[in-house]
């Protein structure tokens, strides 16, 4: 998937401006299988294999992509559109040293903390000086999304909606949780989802989301969903959290879910550019505490009330003093453990605007009743 003309240049420009304030001469972005997002952001390269690096000089020169798998070279050239794509070989560290000498020092590394010590030592020996961490620099540059990136997230959100609709359509007595997960996956992949981080829970005493373990749906079971299709990169993920029930909805569950719905709606009302992120947590915790569940608003029951994905992600925690900015994208989820009902899931993906939010999720925040077919 090629980004529109100008998209990559605009990303590099943002990073170069930050490099000037960090006083670094070049940035080396590192990705491995655990953190593939940075290389996708800088080089539009979908990591296959062990690792990749991308070197971007502070000067207006073209970046260089280094990949670990020689057999993927042609694809890396076509995906990135880079003229200079190299395979990581024995001379890799010296090649970086040459680039640093040519374009300027010191070298900042985004993902430095994820590299192995052996690699860092070899690199610093080659360039004869210490490297600096540029992880924060890259994360900050990627926090506010471009119009193109927001479109990818909107598309991912439509996939999440479709996945949930598919789940409600196919859920039936006796269907296993892993079959349900497969149906959702297939629905979102058919729409182009690159990945789908997915958890669900089926049962009456759920304490949270789990890996599918073969549980078959029974009458009265709550079905908890957390769908997170990604479009292009995990950075462009959208999450939908919701709850369904096999059969009729008991009043008790309806009543408790209303607390979550209120927490979601009230917290969404305050989000706009300039508002402190911790405010969302304060509002949700206050409403849920008023309902009598304050002690379950902290770990291990609750970690955070929302977050972004991949590179430049943000976290909604009470102590976060950072403010929302226009163009940020995140899921807001008052998911909550309630002793009488078990864990309940509810969350929507949004984009922050100057005056409020754009709600991406089209699925209504309510408990869906599945008929016992």
């Amino acid at each position: 998937m090629l980004p529109p003309s100008g998209e990559m240049r605009s990303r590099w420009q943002k990073i170069r401006e930050a490099m000037a304030s960090y006083q670094i001469g070049g940035i080396l972005v590192f990705s491995n299988q655990i953190n593939p997002e940075p290389i996708h952001y800088l080089a539009n390269y979908t990591l296959v294999g062990e690792k990749a690096f991308c070197y971007l000089p502070a000067a207006e020169n073209q970046p260089v992509l280094f990949i670990s798998e020689p057999w993927n070279h042609e694809r890396a050239v076509s995906e990135s559109g880079f003229k200079d794509v190299r395979v990581i070989g024995k001379s890799f560290f010296h090649e970086i040293a040459t680039l640093c000498k040519k374009y300027g020092e010191p070298l900042g590394i985004a993902g430095r903390e994820n590299m192995t010590r052996v690699d860092i030592v070899a690199l610093e020996a080659a360039i004869s000086r210490e490297t600096l961490s540029a992880t924060r620099l890259l994360e900050d540059a990627a926090t506010v999304k471009s119009p193109y990136e927001l479109d990818l997230i909107r598309a991912a959100s439509r996939m999440a909606d479709a996945g949930f609709e598919r789940a409600i359509q196919v859920a039936r007595l006796g269907l296993s949780d892993f079959e349900l997960a497969a149906e959702i996956d297939y629905a979102v992949r058919n729409m182009g989802a690159t990945e789908n981080f997915q958890m669900l829970a089926v049962g009456r005493d759920n304490t949270g989301m789990h890996l599918p373990n073969g549980k078959k749906i029974e009458s009265g079971d709550l079905l908890l969903f957390e769908l997170t299709p990604a479009f292009g990169s995990i950075t462009y993920s959208a999450q939908l959290c919701n709850t369904a029930i096999m059969g009729n909805l008991p009043d008790l569950v309806k009543e408790k879910y209303a607390i979550l719905t209120e927490a979601l709606e009230e917290s969404l009302l305050v989000i706009k550019e300039g508002v402190r992120m911790g405010e969302v947590v304060r509002i949700q915790d206050e409403i849920i505490s008023r309902g009598g569940y304050g002690e379950y608003c902290k770990p291990p029951y609750m970690q955070q009330r929302g977050h972004g994905f991949g590179l430049g992600s943000i976290k909604l925690k009470a102590e976060v003093t950072k403010c929302f900015e226009k163009g940020m994208s995140l899921v807001v989820h008052p998911n909550q453990f309630i002793p009488e009902t078990g864990y309940l899931a509810l969350g929507e993906h949004i984009i922050v605007t100057a005056n409020g939010i754009e709600r991406l999720t089209r699925i209504k925040p309510k408990i869906y009743e599945c008929s016992a077919k």
């Binding site: 491995n32 070279h73 903390e113 994820n114 192995t116 497969a182 304490t207």
Partner: protein, 381 residues
């Protein structure tokens, strides 16, 4: 080099599979690890893994370091353990016994708690570390700090070599996984005649494999009319009649990977391709008699290359011809000097581009190495 795509987001059926990996097997594996500890004069073992290479922790506990927790420590004493520590344990604790063979320790700082447990078990003795090379810069500093003043010995290579000799349970799980991969290949055969693009073909294989209970898939596809073709992250290329399609289908079941790679012609049979595939198949048959246990990976590769050359096939240099496979798609033996022991399972990639890179043919199979030679697992499941 590795064929792994992206972070593995395993959310297929993930259960204990005790019928395949019994409690007795896990007990025996822990026994083997303790025997290794005794041989090397160790009093405790600290095994670190992440979501990309979960093998050694999985070997002792059946715990998959899937993306959510993605980092784990297994701590083993000479008489106690294994003790399992993972990031974000609260999510897993309630149901961990549905998929692991031991409990999960409830620790807010899993890293520090795991190191403390290892120190406690070792007393004034020596701790063996497995996975030191996987530690990130920041985690390596933590390890150094946690084990400051403690006798620490990195025994990763020895542990990986021990694990590479697959036990009966691992071979059984591998065969099941391979069977699913072969079914996936069959699905590809059906789909290639249809109007689906590579992306949708991969989606169908993934879907049907998940319905059959696999834990995860790793599907790479490539397609072109001629020239050098490599499998890759599936895109929206629409195969046309006369195109050549190369497929790499890996399926994980009961924590083990099964893999198959094939070359398919789209719609019409291509005589030249058929001839090349026949030669490739002949070489594949020949290989089993050319390999032996207790050699190095480089020797195995050389024997395979020689077998190819004898049939006029020069295998490509840009892909790994042989590498270990099991709990992870790429595991020991990986380096040229790594030992290939009895019951090691290898992924064998036979890829040939033609004299002027005119047409790629390839196949990927799984080979079990024994003292008597090699046994192809492909087609056996």
């Amino acid at each position: 080099m590795s064929f792994v795509k992206l972070p593995v987001l395993s959310h297929g059926l993930t259960i204990r599979h005790e019928e395949i990996v019994s409690a007795e097997t896990i007990h025996e594996r822990n026994g083997s690890a303790r025997a290794l500890m005794q041989n090397m004069g160790l009093d405790a073992l600290a095994i670190y893994r992440d979501g990309a290479t979960n093998g050694p922790v999985c070997y002792l506990t059946n715990y998959p370091c899937y993306r959510l927790g993605r980092r784990a420590f297994a701590i083993l004493g000479l008489e106690q353990g294994p003790f399992l520590y993972t990031a974000e344990p609260s999510r897993n604790i309630p149901r961990v016994r549905l998929f692991t063979s031991c409990d999960l320790e409830n620790a807010r700082d899993y890293f520090s708690a795991a190191c403390s447990q290892a120190k406690h078990l070792a007393g004034s003795g020596t701790i063996g570390l497995v996975g030191g090379e996987r530690l990130s810069l920041s985690d390596a500093a933590k390890v150094e700090n946690e084990f400051s003043g403690v006798a620490l010995k990195d025994i990763s290579e020895n542990f990986y070599a021990m694990m590479a000799a697959k036990d009966g349970s691992s071979l059984k799980a591998t065969r099941k996984a391979l069977k699913l991969a072969e079914l996936g290949c069959g699905i590809m055969d059906e789909e290639v005649a249809g109007a689906k693009d590579l992306w949708h073909m991969a989606a169908v294989i993934d879907y049907r494999s998940r319905l059959l209970g696999c834990e995860d898939t790793n599907i790479l596809l490539g397609c072109a009319r001629k020239g050098k073709i490599r499998p890759g992250y599936p895109d929206h290329t629409q195969p046309k009649p006369g195109d050549i399609l190369v497929a790499y289908i890996a399926i994980r079941y009961a924590r083990h990977w099964g893999v198959i790679g094939r070359t398919l012609s789209v719609a019409s049979a291509n005589e030249a391709l058929t001839r090349k595939l026949n030669s490739l198949n002949e070489v594949q048959k020949e290989i089993a008699s050319r390999v032996r246990a207790n050699t190095t990976l480089a020797q195995v590769e050389e024997n395979i290359r020689v077998a190819g050359r004898e049939k006029g096939l020069v295998f490509t240099e840009d892909m790994p011809v042989v590498s270990g496979i099991g709990f992870d798609i790429s595991e020991y033996p990986l380096g040229p000097t790594d030992r290939v022991g009895e019951n090691t399972v290898l992924q064998v990639v036979l890829a040939e581009d033609g004299e002027s890179n005119d047409q790629t043919v390839w196949r990927v199979d799984m080979l079990q190495i024994t003292d008597a030679g090699g046994t192809w697992l492909t087609g056996q499941a």
